[in-house]
Symmetry: C2
Subunit: 351 residues, 2 copies
């Protein structure tokens, strides 16, 4: 195990705790950054994902109640325990399941490492919540930060654009959520629609961890798909432009947005994912907010628009930016975003 | 074929043209009414549904370019042509696919029969659009009426309650629509979400064929389920009651609404349909607007509520009421609704 300080001095030493849907993507993304080093990943149980980490050359550490014997039996060598990993890094990105992250907080404090949590945790787990386009600079030098969830990231990115350019008087959003990720087999429904019975849903207050005064009300339903969420938005703008194409231009010229045309055989989320597959994107990830020209309409001050959000990957670039902000590797948000996006191959297709 | 006037004089003679999802249900429903007689159904092609009509004893007539030889080959005797059927009835309920209904208009006018169309047709096909709780009396004596679509019926019923009791200042609805009916095999998506790219969607204007001044804006997405649509509603009430339970009481005491509790293991549309199956409902039909106690929340004047709409059957009772209104078999909407619901076994579970 490399001792603390082993990596070149300009390279931030990063641990990833949890190697599921988010963790494996964050680990890959860290590896692609010139100013970061992935020291290791931690996992409680062996399996095909842990084996793939090994095959990629990522040192695998034992997390939680993980047993060395189980990993040995699976033919996956372990490099030590999570505690040992934490002693060799500057920061840990916690990608464990909801609530496990909060339980890990004491461990991170004990090891005196900075920590990043995911949006499944309550905002109170960290000192700040983060969304790169919205509040990067407010997290400069922070030691405990939560990257907001996929839905909140998608809404916050859009809010960053609309607030700054046109002002938001009122925002109404229905979140049509995917039931399970593609690699899951136990979640449902596979036929049916489940309303999320909390009204309004928790997503509005969660967006307000980023924009405290944003007048947004959200509702959610869960539907039988694995590909992406879709947000149905109706925003009343304070200072509407004269035409919807001005709003489109605002999105187009902002990083992490792509704009498609439905008439280009891009009818919905199946085609978006097929596009990502054709592009050769790793795991067909779509880290951008996806909008459609026909799916955006301005009527006076009323803006209607759809956006699709790839729940598995949209927070990955934000997990990189947050590290640069916390360690002040970059103080200008736009430059961090540019570096992240270049390393991850995020395009601006609509631009 | 019975000649015109064959049925007892108090019994309205009804033809059903089209015997698919809606037609077969309307035919069954007409048969269950004491003041109506089903003279026959018309269909263009034989198949298991036409055979079932025969088995039920419904005279089957040849519609459109349907060929007697095809029916003969399938062992389904035909009683004549649609034109002949039309000569023996007072009214035809057109349940043919979208746009075919409009094409049939000349035929109905030539036969001098009154006609009812479904919501797939444009409002202009008829003299009036109909929703029983909303505008029954305005259709008294009308000869050409369109029963609005499943989604519009669901919204109009809810609007009838909310407008009358509390006033509607603004209504925002997202329609989460089923991709296909259970008996269809060619429609999709089976994984993915398709935004309806018309913004706002056509449903708002369609509701205004019933309530011309209702300030409603709708958006829609299509999702991979066959069971029911779900409407996500946010309504700003003009004269809000002090508590959400007053709104619930308003729905509960109105026919064609059922109110479930999510905590009663009624999480979403799969359980609603299972409930209908357990109840022994014909084809597991749910002709009521389905609401949840936990899925209704009043915050000041802001009312949030979900409602599930069974796309296959919700318009069936309205197709009966419209006949009573047109022929003035009943001038009081509540009494027609009561007669229809009693005959169809529609409960008021939440009452």
């Amino acid at each position: 195990m490399p001792p603390r300080g082993w990596a070149p001095c300009m390279s931030l030493k990063v641990a990833v705790n949890g190697y599921g849907t988010i963790g494996k993507r964050v680990a890959d993304a860290v590896r692609l950054q010139k100013d970061m080093t992935l020291v290791g990943v931690a996992k409680t149980k062996p399996g095909f994902e842990a084996r793939r980490a090994m095959e990629k050359g990522y040192p695998v550490f034992l997390a939680g109640d993980g047993k060395k014997a189980d990993f040995d039996a699976a033919g996956i060598p372990t490099a030590g325990t999570l505690q040992e990993l934490l002693r060799s890094v500057d920061v840990v990105v916690d990608c464990t399941p909801e609530k496990v992250g909060a339980a890990n907080k004491a461990l991170y404090e004990e090891a005196k490492v900075a920590a990043v949590w995911q949006g499944g945790e309550k905002a109170s787990v960290a000192d700040r919540s983060f969304s790169a386009l919205a509040n990067y600079t407010s997290c400069l030098g922070a030691r405990k930060v939560r990257v907001v969830s996929c839905n909140t990231t998608g809404l916050s990115r859009a809010a960053a654009v609309l607030r700054e350019r046109f002002g938001v008087e009122h925002w109404e959003a229905t979140l049509v959520r995917r039931a399970a990720d593609p690699g899951e087999s136990k979640r449902g429904p596979i036929n049916g629609i489940l309303p999320t019975m909390t009204l309004p849903s928790h997503h509005g207050p969660d967006v307000r961890t980023i924009f405290p005064d944003l007048p947004i009300a959200t509702s959610a339903v869960v539907v039988p798909t694995t590909l992406m969420h879709v947000h149905v938005n109706h925003v009343r703008l304070s200072h509407p432009p004269s035409s919807g194409s001005d709003v489109m231009a605002a999105f187009r010229t902002t990083p992490r947005f792509v704009m498609f045309r439905a008439s280009d055989r891009m009818e919905g989320t199946p085609q978006v994912i097929e596009w990502a597959r054709d592009l050769g994107r790793s795991r067909n990830d779509v880290m951008e907010n996806v909008l459609w020209e026909e799916g955006l309409k301005l009527e006076g001050s009323d803006l209607y628009f759809f956006q699709a959000i790839h729940q598995e990957s949209i927070v990955v670039p934000e997990n990189i930016d947050v590290l640069r902000a916390m360690f002040q590797l970059e103080t200008d948000p736009r430059r961090s975003i540019e570096r992240t996006d270049q390393a991850l191959g995020i395009l601006r297709v609509g631009a």
